[in-house]
């Protein structure tokens, strides 16, 4: 069960990474840690323990059991090699064919639109039979190793039984190595099937091992990537920021979509807006400024010096499209960016952003859940905004601060932003003409 406990921690470190890695792969780990590894230990120890126990009754029987390990080991190694070679030979074809059914179901709209369902159905049938035939090729060899195990398990029982029987009859073709009683002989015979049991169970857990190791690899890769992008020690916080600019900044995502080059300059204090159609990369630009988008070229420049985006983290207050809501009270959530925010300042910000109505109606101790149930989109946005301004950091990056707001509240928020921008550098991505109209500068992305 310890296998599952890290899921929470990894979830935190991998935020922004693939959900599948953080949760499903950690789950898949369970088989490897909880089943395969203990079984492997058992498979190594149990034959020795059984042999030792048998030796107490009949050391020669124990010797017989141990002796069968030699041809068994050699046979298993050969079968294992042959099995792996066959599995490797079929791997590419199998991985392509076996996903075909799921893939074609997912691509059903396109298949239906072109009327290709009969052809695709035939293709799925052919591929499924091909997978079955290829899998049988692999199984034929894979089962040899389990047959070998069965054979040696049965053989060790048979040898012990025959030896004990002949020994009891006094008919051994060689001088009797020991004097056996029926009780001892029976004890040896009863334990003989257990000799190979650990290894047989280990072989059955082979699937757990494969899945677990694949999961382990992807989690390790994700963790390594997360470490690479871990911010360095935070730079000392200057009181104010003069100018933030980008020079030929390029963002390139793994799926090949790229944004940029972006060259822009924002002088603080002031209220600057970034506009452009949906999907043009406004949010990506804001994320790139704090090191959360994959920058493939260009520079971020702070007061004339090129800086790593991570260095800006500690200078920046952030309000995104969907603010983070942690379980707790509304007041806790408003102060996530700055725990030492003065109460009167918090009161001023809630009043100015229009959130005071929510507090008046439901209290500062209103309990919040992560999905923000019971809060409107506009309320959630303003929680993020108050948090960002309340962080008292010199740079504020805001993504659509006035979206989801009615014109009256939007006007309040714009006034608050103008007021804030008198002492700080505010950069907002927006479509809102009212906000654009108040801006010190406007940058259009296309």
């Amino acid at each position: 069960m310890t296998a599952l406990l890290p899921s929470g921690q990894m979830g935190g470190r991998l935020i922004g990474e693939d959900l599948r890695v953080a949760i499903d792969d950690v789950e898949a780990h369970e088989g490897l840690i909880a089943r395969f590894q203990p079984l492997r230990m058992a498979a190594m120890l149990s034959p020795l323990i059984i042999a030792a126990a048998v030796a107490l009754a009949s050391w020669f029987s124990a010797l017989i059991l141990l002796a069968t390990l030699i041809p068994f080991g050699a046979g298993m190694a050969l079968a294992g090699l042959a099995g792996k070679a066959e599995a490797d030979r079929q791997f590419l074809a199998l991985s392509r064919l076996s996903g075909l059914f799921v893939d074609r179901v997912a691509a059903l709209p396109a298949i239906l639109a072109f009327g290709a369902e009969d052809r695709v159905t035939r293709q799925i049938g052919g591929a499924a039979r091909d997978v079955a035939a290829r899998t049988m090729q692999i199984l034929k060899i894979a089962f040899v190793s389990s047959a070998m195990m069965e054979f040696f398990a049965a053989l060790s029982v048979a040898l012990v039984a025959v030896y004990c029987g002949f020994s009891l009859l006094g008919l051994l073709p060689f001088p009797a190595p020991e004097d056996l009683s029926l009780g001892e002989a029976f004890f040896a015979l009863a334990l003989a099937p257990e000799f190979y049991l650990g290894m047989r169970r280990l072989a059955a857990a082979y699937h757990d091992k494969q899945q677990g190791q694949a999961a382990e690899r992807s989690v390790a890769a994700a963790l390594e990537q997360a470490h690479r992008t871990t911010p360095p020690a935070t730079a000392p916080l200057p009181d104010r920021i003069g100018e933030l600019s980008t020079q030929g900044l390029m963002i390139r995502y793994d799926d090949g979509n790229s944004i940029g080059p972006i060259t822009a300059s924002w002088r603080g204090p002031g209220l600057h807006v970034v506009t452009g159609p949906t999907g043009v990369g406004k949010s990506s630009l804001l994320h790139a400024l704090i090191g959360l988008a994959p920058v493939s070229g260009g520079q971020i420049i702070h007061d004339g010096t090129p800086v790593a985006a991570e260095e800006l983290l500690a200078l920046t207050g952030w309000a995104g499209q969907r603010p983070l809501l942690l379980p707790g009270t509304l007041a806790d959530n408003l102060q996530l960016g700055n725990k030492s925010l003065a109460p009167q300042e918090l009161a001023r910000l809630t009043e100015a952003s229009g959130l005071s109505a929510l507090i008046a109606a439901r209290g500062e101790d209103l309990t919040i859940d992560p999905r923000g149930s019971g809060l409107s989109g506009g309320e959630r946005r303003r929680i993020g905004l108050v948090r960002a301004i309340g962080s008292e950091r010199p740079v504020l990056l805001l993504d659509e601060p006035t979206a989801d707001l009615d014109p009256e509240t939007a006007a309040k928020v714009i006034a608050l932003l103008q007021d804030t921008a008198r002492s700080r550098l505010v950069i907002a991505a927006t479509h809102d003409p009212a906000l654009i109209a108040c801006a010190t500068s406007r940058m259009v992305m296309a």
Binding site: P109, F114, E117, L189, P277, R322
Partner: protein, 532 residues
């Protein structure tokens, strides 16, 4: 229904199944006989050895010792071949079931089918079919266990009826315990586990969307603390499942032990027969306990069957042969106002995101039917024409690519049958993708991975566009074809597409928020979002 499909599919593998079942029975009987004979031989030998040289001479040791070795080999061989044949039966039966299920899904009303085909559902469907495969492999365990039990009963009856009855009662108790315990101990923890997993995923997803705030305010530890209760609930549920399985298997072991002990106590007819009966009972009980695993898996298989049943029972699409058009004009009615696009016309549908542009296109081509606008082709409503009537008219390039895992050529060939290579290159040229494909290591036969993973977003869109060009339908329906393109490529695309439309006299229905392709249109309709 799914049970019937599965039965039909397994019936075609009857030969393998029958062989597998016979071999499973042989293996079980050989296993029981091996231990029984060993016990009898050992005890008989001891008695003979103890009673002097004459008894030793009289004791026939050759036959039993040869029998023991023979049974060891028989058990191994039959077990090996049983596995091969049971897997052959299952793999080929399910190989027949997959296309049958796909045909059901593809043959029903598209709005029903498409509810099942998002990535998650498709993966679910795949794992459900795999669960069935496992259950077919497991089928042979029942006759195997029964044969082993029969052999055990016959062997123990040699030591008297009471011993046989004790074994019978013990085996019955083992079945009863796992049949009763499995649903009680496992159903709820498994549901809890699924629920906890879903909650954890949902919260993880909502936190992951806030990576900006987590990074700037350094809230990682707090997020971990917030996820902790769900992770704990997940662990607790998983532990409960494992505990339940351990209790079920433990109960089997205890009952097997009690069974052997009572056989030992009740058997008579001499020490050799008592040993034979006790060891036969032990082997039969061990075989028998395999059935408990089937009980535990049954719950999972039942869930899979319920979900697959909903696909197997999908009604076939109704096709009305009388309804056909030859792709005349499209009439579009929005809030009482009508627009008519003549054959070969070019329409741009504009409007902000969320105003239902993609929904309108999906309804026009018959993949869905939920657009509020009135749509008719040649005077016949699209909902009457249905997918069968509409798809001969429209070649559709969707917004969310919709590529299949396969080669470039596989994807292009989806458009229609008998597409030649020169045709493919011509279409790729028009879609401004020929250069890219030429530069792929294997060109047209390059494997692209799931949903074209090897290509960029913009390249995927152009491949989908090339596919639509190849379909040779009277109308081209494009949803954001130039998304993710740089302005130069977009302009080249505009010119080539414009020339292609002129040459082929194909009509166009275009959705694009980027202005680069707007000049293709001769008519514009703007949708307005439904005000909240």
């Amino acid at each position: 229904m799914i049970e019937r499909l599965l039965r039909d599919a397994t019936r075609r593998q009857r030969r393998s199944t029958v062989i597998a079942i016979s071999l499973a029975m042989v293996a079980a009987v050989a296993g029981v006989a091996l231990l029984a004979l060993s016990g009898w031989f050992l005890t008989g030998a001891a008695i003979a050895g103890a009673s002097g040289i004459a008894s030793v001479r009289a004791f026939n040791y050759l036959l039993p010792s040869a029998g023991i070795r023979g049974l060891a080999i028989a058990r191994t061989l039959s077990r090996y071949s049983e596995r091969l044949y049971s897997h052959r039966a299952a793999l080929f039966a399910l190989a027949d079931l997959r296309p049958t299920l796909f045909a059901k899904l593809a043959g029903t009303d598209p709005s029903r089918a498409l509810a099942q085909s998002s990535g998650d559902m498709a993966a679910r469907l795949g794992s459900d079919v795999d669960a069935l495969e496992d259950s077919v492999v497991r089928k042979v365990t029942v006759p195997g266990a029964l044969a082993g039990a029969g052999a055990g009963l016959i062997a123990s009856s040699l030591a008297g009826l009471p011993a046989a009855l004790a074994l019978l009662a013990g085996l019955a108790a083992m079945r009863l315990s796992s049949r009763v315990l499995a649903p009680r101990l496992l159903t709820k923890p498994r549901q809890d586990h699924a629920a906890a997993l879903n909650r954890l995923k949902a919260d993880y997803t909502s936190y992951a969307a806030c990576s900006g705030e987590i990074a700037v305010y350094n809230l990682g530890t707090q997020v971990i603390a917030a996820l902790e209760p769900h992770a704990r609930a997940l662990d607790a549920a998983r532990s409960a499942v494992v505990r339940g399985e351990a209790v079920i298997q433990g109960a089997q072991l205890v009952l097997a032990g009690l069974t052997v002990a009572s056989v030992l106590a009740l058997a008579d007819g001499g020490a050799a027969l008592v040993a034979l009966a006790a060891l036969a009972a032990a082997a039969a009980a061990e075989n028998w306990s395999v059935l408990a695993r089937t009980d535990m898996e049954r719950l999972r298989v039942q869930d899979a069957i319920i979900r697959l049943e909903s696909i197997a029972t999908l009604p076939a699409r109704e096709i009305d042969a009388a309804l056909s058009t030859n792709g005349g004009s499209i009439a579009l009615t929005i809030e009482g106002q009508s627009y008519v696009v003549p054959p070969g016309g070019r329409l741009l549908i504009g409007g902000p995101s969320g105003s239902g542009k993609s929904r309108l296109l999906g309804t026009l081509i018959g993949l869905r039917s939920d657009a509020p606008e009135g749509l008719a082709v040649d005077g016949q409503g699209v909902r009457t024409l249905g997918l069968a009537g509409l798809r001969p008219l429209f070649a559709y390039a969707a917004q969310d690519a919709g590529l299949i895992a396969g080669t470039v050529a596989d994807n292009l060939r989806l458009a229609r049958q008998g597409i030649s290579e020169p045709e493919m290159w011509a279409a790729l040229e028009t879609a401004c993708l020929a250069e890219t494909v030429r530069n792929l290591p294997e060109g047209l036969t390059q494997w692209l991975g799931d949903n074209g993973a090897r290509l960029s977003g913009g390249q995927r869109k152009r491949l989908v566009l090339a596919r639509a060009l190849l379909a040779g339908k009277p109308w081209l329906v494009l949803d954001e074809p130039s998304e993710g393109l740089d302005p130069e490529t977009e302009h080249a695309l505009y010119q080539r597409l414009s020339a292609w439309l002129d040459r082929t006299e194909t009509g166009l229905v275009l959705v694009s928020h980027r202005s680069g392709l707007h000049a293709l249109a001769r008519q514009v309709v703007t949708l307005v979002p439904v005000s909240a």
